[in-house]
């Protein structure tokens, strides 16, 4: 566990020093600010903003993973007695933390810029929907890691952004919150008061998202065990 925490700290430091983390957090703050631009569709705008911000954040993580691999730093870590599974766990922890902090920033940004007028009628709706949305972070970071393991930095970033944005935007625009689908937390965020009970739906959405994340990470483990680092 100490090794994974060290690796996650290294990844976050790398993201921070390369301004990738800052860029991602700005994307999340901007996503939250969308509520102020169109009050009539504030929540849908917020969900779309968050979906795009998550795609940008995941893309930046994919670029960082691919850069670590191409530069040989991932191999350097493996040559320091770091099992490949721990390497993946470090990336998962760092990337998910960055996305979850980004989501919190989006929520705060929405509340500050949209004010109480945009608050849903159900008090728990916003935190529940945000938490359910955050549960999609491991799956998004898993996609980013897979792309980073097989592609060069720029293609990995582009592919991750397209895939994650396509998936999450489709959830916001096409999937009702009552449907159990990976990333359905964002559908709940798009219409937080429309379906009740919000908390139950959020829990179900989080569970499905985490299960999807587990499948993606299983695939990432298989790829990492064979990859050149």
């Amino acid at each position: 566990m100490t090794q994974v925490a060290t690796l996650a700290g290294l990844s976050l430091r790398e993201l921070w020093i390369s301004f990738r983390l800052l860029g991602g957090l700005v994307a999340f703050a901007s996503g939250g600010a969308l509520v102020a631009t169109a009050p009539a569709t504030a929540w849908r705008s917020l969900a779309l903003g968050v979906a795009v911000a998550m795609a940008v954040g995941a893309g930046l993580v994919a670029g960082a993973v691919a850069t670590d691999r191409r530069r040989g730093f991932a191999g350097w870590l493996v040559a320091r007695a770091v099992p490949r599974s721990s390497l993946l766990a470090g990336w998962l922890l760092a990337g998910s933390l960055a996305l979850i902090v980004g989501l919190a920033i989006s929520g705060i940004s929405a509340l500050v810029l949209g004010g109480l007028a945009v608050m849903p009628t159900h008090d728990a709706a916003l935190p529940a929907a945000l938490a359910a949305s955050a549960a999609a972070a491991p799956a998004a970071i898993g996609v980013a890691t897979l792309a980073g393991l097989v592609a060069a930095p720029r293609p990995a970033m582009a592919a991750t952004m397209v895939l994650v944005a396509g998936w999450l935007v489709a959830i916001v625009l096409l999937v009702p919150a009552s449907v159990a689908a990976p990333g359905a937390g964002l559908a709940l965020l798009a219409a937080p008061g429309a379906d009740a009970p919000v908390t139950a739906l959020a829990l179900r959405a989080a569970g499905v998202s985490l299960a999807a994340g587990a499948v993606v990470w299983g695939a990432a483990l298989v790829v990492a065990s064979r990859a050149d680092l």
Partner: protein
């Protein structure tokens, strides 16, 4: 005196020449090119082996596989008779120190941070780390200068190479795998540092310019078409009046003085050195 110390002191190990590395049937393709095609190689404990190849990527790939950063598609590797697996934390990586041809460390990291990180990831406790780092720095000829605390991107290439070597020495590995090591150093410093590495460690060095390793390497293995076609003492070249170059090694292979590893030996035999023809 510990049992291994006593064995070394008595010269028993040098006499028996057990294998440090035994590769059998290694096969690997990359970019549509077959780099290793059923490669067999046995390296005895304490060897100073130079590996050269055509194409040069074959030697690099072999070293990357030995270092654990690349995978062979087929074949087995034994270290001191035991199959390797990176599923054992601290196992392989503590026994093999791999140094890639270019510094893989992030530019924002200082040399001191890199060494500290290396010791921490290798699992040494807080009290043991400074001792390990000090010893590794000494082994790599890395002095405690202000450069050590500067980001590596601002340091000279030679300093980055010494940091990479010191980071590999932190675990005091029994096998050192060096791909084009210390190219940025002047030849005398390079020879002095490589020559002063732990004499009991087995050294495998890959080089695109074999002549640069003259005086350091005692044995040479030449990989052609994915297989070891020459594995002989460096003196074999001298004896035949051939230079220690890729061309010289190819001529040696053509003369049929190959001393290959025993391809048919079972892994149980991995503890012995192949006989010369």
């Amino acid at each position: 005196m510990s049992t291994p110390e006593a064995l070394w002191a008595s010269g028993t190990l040098r006499h028996l020449r057990p294998s440090a590395i035994a590769c059998r049937g290694l096969r690997r393709r990359a970019g549509g090119v077959t780099l290793l095609d059923g490669l067999n190689l046995i390296v005895p404990v304490g060897a100073r082996l130079l590996v050269a190849s055509r194409p040069s990527e074959s030697a690099t790939m072999l070293l990357r596989i030995l270092g654990g950063v690349a995978r062979a598609e087929q074949g087995t590797i034994h270290l001191a008779g035991l199959p390797i697996s990176d599923d054992l934390p601290g196992g392989w990586a503590r026994r093999v120190g791999y140094v890639p041809p270019t510094s893989a460390l992030p530019g924002w990291m200082s040399g001191r941070e890199a060494l500290e990180l290396s010791a921490r990831l290798l699992g040494f406790d807080h009290a043991e780390r400074p001792v390990r780092i000090e010893r590794a720095m000494s082994g790599a000829g890395l002095a405690t200068t202000p450069d050590l605390d500067r980001p590596l991107r601002r340091a000279a290439t030679a300093h980055r190479e010494l940091v990479a070597l010191a980071a590999a020495l932190v675990a005091d590995p029994e096998i050192l795998v060096l791909d084009e090591p210390l190219r940025a150093l002047d030849p005398w410093d390079r020879w002095r540092i490589l020559g002063a590495l732990e004499p009991r460690a087995t050294l495998v060095v890959a080089s695109r310019t074999p002549a640069a390793e003259e005086g350091f390497a005692r044995e040479v293995a030449f990989i052609g078409q994915g297989r070891v076609v020459v594995h002989a003492p460096v003196t074999e070249l001298t004896r035949r009046g051939l230079p220690l170059t890729l061309g010289g090694l190819e001529q040696l292979a053509a003369l049929g003085v190959e001393r290959p590893s025993r391809a048919t030996a079972s892994p149980r035999d991995a503890g012995t050195r192949p006989e010369a023809r």
